[in-house]
């Protein structure tokens, strides 16, 4: 009996090599995938696997491949036929969509990534102003591979900039969750550089409108606690002051007002004056910067919320916040009253320090 066990276990150990192997040197790995519309309801997918050159000054470039088909997995199959190494899609970290495609809805395409056991939940999704394929073809990163470049661009701006976090998981959460709508960053090509040019707003999974950088900042401040980034305050006398964010916090308070929910948003912003264009910072001056900033943030925020209400979209997730404070919340009723809901925004700015000078 013991001998039989030993034989069986030896077999187990020896046969472990007999599964399907995936060898790194024999596969094509792309960090970015781009989707564009094509004729007859088809899609065009572009992958940019890195190509390494040994002994050259530019050691890495991208090998761009595009194909048209009905489903992304079948396109990968077609692409394999022009590559000496088969494609593995598990490492895709950035997915780009053409704006026209986003207008028709992204749920079907994103389902591929949510369904695949090999793909990440933390991958970034972005909408491209123009053709996504053209963006990948542009020569925007000289020293890094394009996919990693785009990933780092989005990652660093989400972490330390004013781009609200929105990855695949967040998108699905806001899309399927009731009382909120998703949004995505917009990438655009400007003078050969890729820039995050704003925020694409969605109704369900369809792109409806966009926000500029200024408004995107406000969305970030209204959604998350932040402690990075710099804001600019325009003072009455026409000069500007730059205030660095050292911690912002946002609180939502829901109450009822004539049988209708009322949302009071309180935004606290702690800042440090970094650039005063030369004038001396007296106490009055600090007060003026503070007031100017408060006014500006409140004005941008209120206008933004009004815009959301007019368009019937809810990227801030106000519906979800009201739901969490209301018994028997009902989505249809909320959608009906949403344009008329009283949402107030109060901004409080604290100027703490002013660098190492007075």
């Amino acid at each position: 009996m013991k001998r039989a066990f030993i034989v069986v276990y030896l077999l187990c150990v020896l046969l472990t090599g007999c599964v399907k192997q995936e060898i790194l040197e024999k596969s094509t790995i792309s960090f970015v995938g781009a989707f564009d519309e094509a004729a007859d309801d088809q899609i065009e997918m572009t992958l940019a696997p890195p190509r390494f050159h040994s002994g050259k000054s530019i050691s890495v470039s991208n090998n761009l491949i595009s194909n048209i088909g009905h489903t992304s997995k079948s396109i990968v199959q077609i692409m394999d036929m022009k590559l000496n190494r088969t494609i593995k899609t598990g490492k895709i970290s950035v997915v780009l969509f053409e704006k026209a495609m986003a207008q028709k809805g992204l749920a079907d395409e994103l389902d591929v990534f949510l369904r695949d056991a090999l793909s990440s939940r933390k991958l970034f999704v972005a909408v491209v102003d123009g053709k996504a394929k053209n963006l990948l073809h542009a020569d925007f990163s000289s020293d890094v591979e394009k996919g990693m470049y785009l990933f780092d661009l989005l990652q660093s701006n989400v972490r330390t900039g004013f781009v609200p976090r929105q990855n695949l998981n967040d998108f699905e959460y806001a899309y399927l969750g009731k009382g909120m709508d998703p949004f995505l960053p917009i990438l655009a090509l400007r003078n050969g550089h890729v820039v995050i040019s704003g925020l694409a707003l969605f109704k369900d999974d369809r792109y409806v409108s966009s926000l500029n950088e200024q408004q995107m900042r406000m969305v970030k401040l209204l959604r998350e606690r932040t402690k990075h980034g710099t804001l600019e305050a325009r003072l009455d006398n026409g000069t500007y002051a730059a205030v660095r964010n050292v911690g912002s916090n946002v609180k939502y308070r829901v109450s009822r007002d004539q049988n209708r929910p009322k949302v009071a948003i309180a935004l606290r912003f702690k800042g440090e004056v970094m650039d005063t264009q030369g004038f001396q910072l007296t106490r009055d001056e600090k007060q003026r910067i503070k007031e100017a900033l408060e006014k500006e943030l409140a004005a941008t925020g209120t206008a933004l919320i009004q815009q959301f209400k007019n368009e019937g979209i809810d990227p801030l997730g106000l519906g979800d916040i009201v739901r969490s404070k209301t018994r028997n919340w009902n989505e249809a009723a909320w959608k009906k009253q949403y344009p008329a809901v009283n949402v107030s925004l109060k901004v409080h700015v604290d100027i703490l320090d002013s660098g190492i000078r007075k």
């Binding site: 069986v8 933390k122 967040d170 699905e172 959460y173 969750g177």
Partner: protein, 364 residues
């Protein structure tokens, strides 16, 4: 006519090991998908249902100890004594089938997870064979080895750290408003959680293997308390990370959490998470094989190791015959129904019969 209460001391385990055994039996691999249905019923109030289920199982544990302590032997003998030789053997046979199907389910679920997350082209039978040979090896070592494997499997609690990685994606407003569901919805959610809570019935079959069994009751209750706590953690985690609408699209939300973990040296942590499921599976398979072979031994009056190979073969064949996800789900639904009747109807029934018999004898 009291039978000898315990086996030979060489074969018994300490009373506190009941804690390990019951907990390992309750906390099975079905936890990966346990949050979907209850949350569909009771949403953010699902914690009430989990506590209710835990309390009801505690009551059932109390009932079981009442039965076992009064009779002083395990359910296999009680069956014969209460219902006669033939009916008792019939009932014992039902339990053999139950334990074998339970083993099949655990094994097939694990193989399915491996097939979906790691190797899509892996056939069912090689892995089933390897795991059953392992289970055979453990079970042929006797009850103490099975309990040892249960103890070893508690290493699973290391994976609790995986819950902290998606913490930045938690949405705490998913937990309010509290008490927004009707009592019937909360009870429905409780009912949907019966299957994950099953496992305490293992006590009915290993009672005679516990040294001083009357002292072990508190350990059984503590095991149930730990299970309830673990399930609460899992439910809260699912509520915080996912919207209920998202959960209805997920098959195994508790494995999806590993998708949020990335290290520079291991990018796909779900490979580790999926394979770690073995720690939930192996103790249950081993106990099921042990219990069914023990029933077989007593029924047929042969050595336990003589029955075990046949039972393992039956499990192997049955596992290979479950082809896909719907098959696994059907089996789970069946076990769920049987387990529900077993815990909430059959055990109280046996308790009543035992009570009536004792009363009748003292009256006579």
């Amino acid at each position: 006519m009291k039978l000898p209460a315990t086996e030979h001391p060489r074969l018994t385990v300490s009373a506190f090991l009941v804690f390990v055994l019951i907990h390992a039996m309750q906390f099975g691999p079905e936890y990966v998908s346990m949050s979907i249905k209850p949350i569909r019923w009771a949403g953010q109030d699902v914690w009430i249902s989990a506590i209710l289920s835990g309390l009801s199982i505690s009551a059932v544990i109390w009932l079981m100890y009442q039965i076992l302590d009064r009779c002083g032997t395990d359910l296999i003998h009680i069956h014969r004594r209460l219902f006669g030789r033939w009916a008792g053997s019939g009932l014992n046979l039902v339990f053999i089938v139950y334990f074998l199907l339970l083993a099949c389910f655990q094994l097939r679920l694990f193989i399915e997870v491996i097939q979906v997350w790691l190797f899509a082209d892996l056939a069912t039978w090689p892995l089933a064979l390897v795991l059953l040979v392992l289970a055979y090896y453990i079970v042929s070592g006797g009850f103490r080895v099975v309990v040892g494997i249960c103890m070893f499997s508690l290493i699973r609690y290391v994976t609790i750290f995986a819950m902290f990685f998606p913490a930045i994606y938690f949405h705490f407003n998913n937990l309010t408003p509290a008490f927004d569901h009707s009592p019937s919805e909360i009870l429905q959610a409780s009912k949907a959680m019966t299957f994950p809570y099953l496992g305490a019935e293992s006590l009915l079959f290993c009672y005679t293997f516990i040294k001083s069994p009357e002292k072990s009751q508190k350990w059984a209750h503590w095991a149930n308390a730990l299970t309830t706590f673990s399930f609460l953690l899992i439910l809260f985690f699912s509520l915080l990370l996912f919207k209920p609408e998202q959960l209805s699209f997920e098959v195994w939300p508790q494995l999806t959490k590993y998708k949020f973990i990335q290290f520079p040296f291991i990018d796909r942590f779900e490979y580790i998470g999926a394979t770690a499921q073995i720690l939930w599976v192996i103790p249950i398979i081993c106990f099921c094989l042990w219990a069914s072979s023990r029933i077989g031994k007593i029924m047929l009056g042969v050595r336990q190791t003589a029955v075990l190979p046949f039972l393992s073969l039956i499990v192997f064949a049955a596992v290979c015959l479950i082809p896909d996800r719907p098959g696994v789900e059907r089996l789970q639904a069946w076990l769920d129904g049987f387990g529900f009747c077993l815990t909430y109807a059959y055990i109280p029934l046996v308790y009543l019969v035992v009570l009536v018999r004792v009363k009748a004898r003292t009256a006579a």
